[in-house]
């Protein structure tokens, strides 16, 4: 691992302000790639101690109003340059999250954002309100990330994330219920122009955007000639999507100046540096966090200011 380059002056472990909150760091884990922030507490590493050491934030698996069973198996497919997943937003649902996961998150003290998804814009307001009511006193709960990549049943199944108006409505609904927490809109890269979506999020009151969610990809099983995943395509993530993520982050930063949380193919300190170079306010580790739960902690340590480096 090379030394931190001269142009890099950020202290990724220093508290920083996002909207009305102060977050403890800039290296986060991505939604869906670190569960509810509860599954890594007994894992140990010689060098990095706990997988939560130095993390700026854990974004939870996306929660929906009701529990979701998710997709049939196989749900995962390794690719030469990334992974395909078709988890199908399996999650415990909001009430079970509030009842079973929140208390443990409270005890653990790990900083977290809750990722939310719904099938109609109102869902986002309702879920944010429920969260505020139950978690409002938790100091380590910093806010929500709106996962806008599900089909919008109220709009005939068009993805939330591809329509600026819906992005704005969803952000506004969450914002109204969470005046003093972070609201981030997580944007899909599967659009011609991402900037209008980021601008819509800002109009809706979001404090920033997260980019990117997975690309749509497909893999064929050469033995059968059929797609590996039962639903044919799935979410393409990992190193192969990084150039796309960098391009999207760059567009949003330059054209809107909004705080952007960069995500896509980050597996090491150099990857994170690319996003920071473009002006990302923070970064998230997704697929690489599956292979190695210490990836984000390791990056946080590697990028710490010279004085603190091991």
């Amino acid at each position: 691992m090379s030394a931190t380059p001269a142009w890099f002056a950020l202290d990724v472990g220093a508290p920083w302000r996002l909207g009305s909150r102060v977050l403890p760091g800039r290296i986060w884990t991505a939604s869906g790639c670190f569960g509810y922030g509860l599954d890594g507490h007994d894992i140990r590493h010689e060098q990095f101690g706990s997988p939560y050491a130095g993390l700026g934030c854990v974004v939870t698996k996306t929660i929906t109003p009701q529990a979701r069973a998710g997709n049939p198996q196989p749900r995962l497919c390794e690719l030469p340059h990334g992974a395909l997943n078709s988890i199908g937003l399996e999650n415990v649902g909001l009430s079970s999250f509030l009842a079973d996961k929140l208390p443990e998150l409270a005890v653990r003290g790990v900083p977290f954002l809750v990722s939310l998804a719904g099938t109609q814009p109102d869902d986002f307001g309702a879920m944010a309100a429920a969260l505020a009511a139950v978690a409002g006193e938790l100091p380590n709960w910093h806010g929500v990330e709106l996962n806008l990549s599900c089909p919008n049943v109220a709009k005939g199944g068009v993805d939330f994330g591809t329509d600026p108006r819906t992005v704005e409505t969803c952000c506004a609904a969450a914002r109204a219920c969470l005046p003093a927490r972070v609201v981030l809109a997580k944007l899909t890269p599967n659009v011609a122009r991402i900037v209008p979506l980021a601008e819509a999020a800002r109009r809706g009151g979001a404090d920033g955007v997260t980019a990117i969610n997975s690309l749509i990809g497909l893999e064929v099983d050469l033995r059968t000639g059929r797609p590996v995943l039962p639903r044919r395509s799935g979410g393409y993530t990992g190193p192969g999507v990084q150039p796309v993520a960098l391009a999207k982050v760059d567009e949003i930063v330059r054209e809107t100046g909004m705080p952007v949380v960069g995500v896509g193919g980050i597996a090491g300190a150099d990857d994170a540096l690319r996003f920071f170079a473009l002006g990302a306010a923070a970064v998230q580790v997704g697929t690489a966090q599956l292979r190695d739960p210490f990836t984000a902690a390791m990056i946080a340590r590697m990028l710490a200011p010279a004085g603190c480096r091991p």
């Binding site: 869906g32 790639c33 670190f34 569960g35 599954d39 890594g40 007994d42 894992i43 140990r44 590493h45 010689e46 698996k61 069973a69 998710g70 049939p72 198996q73 196989p74 749900r75 995962l76 497919c77 390794e78 690719l79 340059h81 990334g82 992974a83 997943n85 988890i87 399996e90 033995r223 059968t224 039962p230 990992g238 190193p239 697929t287 966090q289 599956l290 292979r291 190695d292 739960p293 210490f294």
Partner: protein, 278 residues
């Protein structure tokens, strides 16, 4: 099913101590870890390469044993990852993440155990037998042919079945047929008895074991395989369909599952390696 080991999992760099063919189609890997680790039979580890060779996901392998600071695995070459693993020389470094998952429950005063192991499904049952096995238990191992049997690992207390007969080592014999047919035959000699089944091997074998147990009203634990992303419960990739309607995870609820809790009909549709035989 829990019986968690004393210590939690570690993520560490291991050094290959030995890696080579044990018998036809079965390799053994011994990996030295920087510090001692405990494990319970049935648990697994995620292995990966380092540097440029690093795979997107680790490869789950059951732990066979931990001895003298090294953790051992048995594996067959199933695809890209395991074929590259087979080429790794002593001294090389591998990323080790384990032990993971639940484990086979230790001995209790219930009925004797019937162990059914197929191919590289051997490690959990061999480890369990080594720690907890009793005279009364029946330990069976099935392979395709005698040269695919790791004879040196199996004490004489293990009965062996092969799909097609052939030369066996001096003093050792093999039943010709599936391991479940061998079980049927041996059980027929003790018709009065109740058994608890522990099975690990290819999906068709697990299916047959579950059916056998269900037909006689015995309990049956199986070690399942599913495609894994993380191995520690965060990705929900490794789901096994549950009879209750939703899912069990192979990496957290399992890999040891009560056969009665599995929806075998839906499970079939998801075999990670159609026609594969691990």
């Amino acid at each position: 099913m829990s019986a968690a080991p004393a210590s939690g999992p570690i993520f560490a760099t291991g050094r290959v101590k030995a890696n080579g063919l044990l018998c036809d189609g079965m390799h053994r890997l011994d990996l030295e870890l920087p510090r001692p680790t405990a494990f319970a039979p049935g648990q697994f580890a995620m292995l990966n390469f380092g540097g440029r060779d690093r795979l997107i996901f680790g490869r789950p392998l059951s732990i066979l044993a931990v001895e003298a600071g090294a953790v051992s695995f048995l594996y067959r070459v199933a695809g890209e990852g395991t074929s590259r693993l087979a080429a790794v020389a002593p001294g090389a470094e591998l990323a080790y993440f384990g032990p993971l998952g639940n484990s086979l429950p230790p001995r209790d005063d219930g009925p004797p155990r019937l162990l059914l192991a197929g191919g590289v499904g051997l490690p959990p049952l061999l480890a369990w037998h080594h720690r907890h096995g009793r005279e009364a238990d029946l330990a069976l191992f099935g392979a395709r042919a005698p040269q695919q049997v790791p004879w040196t690992l199996l004490s004489e207390r293990w009965a062996v079945s092969v799909d097609s007969a052939g030369q066996t080592p001096a003093g050792r014999a093999a039943f010709e047929g599936t391991v479940v047919a061998l079980a049927d035959k041996l059980l027929a000699r003790r018709p009065e008895r109740d058994w608890r089944l522990l099975a690990c091997g290819p999906l068709p074998m697990l299916r047959a074991a579950a059916r056998l147990a269900a037909a006689r009203g015995w309990s049956c634990l199986v070690c399942v395989e599913e495609r894994m992303g993380c191995g520690y419960g965060v990705c929900r990739g490794c789901v096994v369909p549950a009879r209750a309607g939703d899912w069990l995870t192979a990496c957290q609820d399992g890999p040891v599952l009560d056969a009665a809790t599995i929806d075998w009909e839906r499970f079939g549709a998801s075999a990670p390696t159609p026609g594969g035989g691990s």
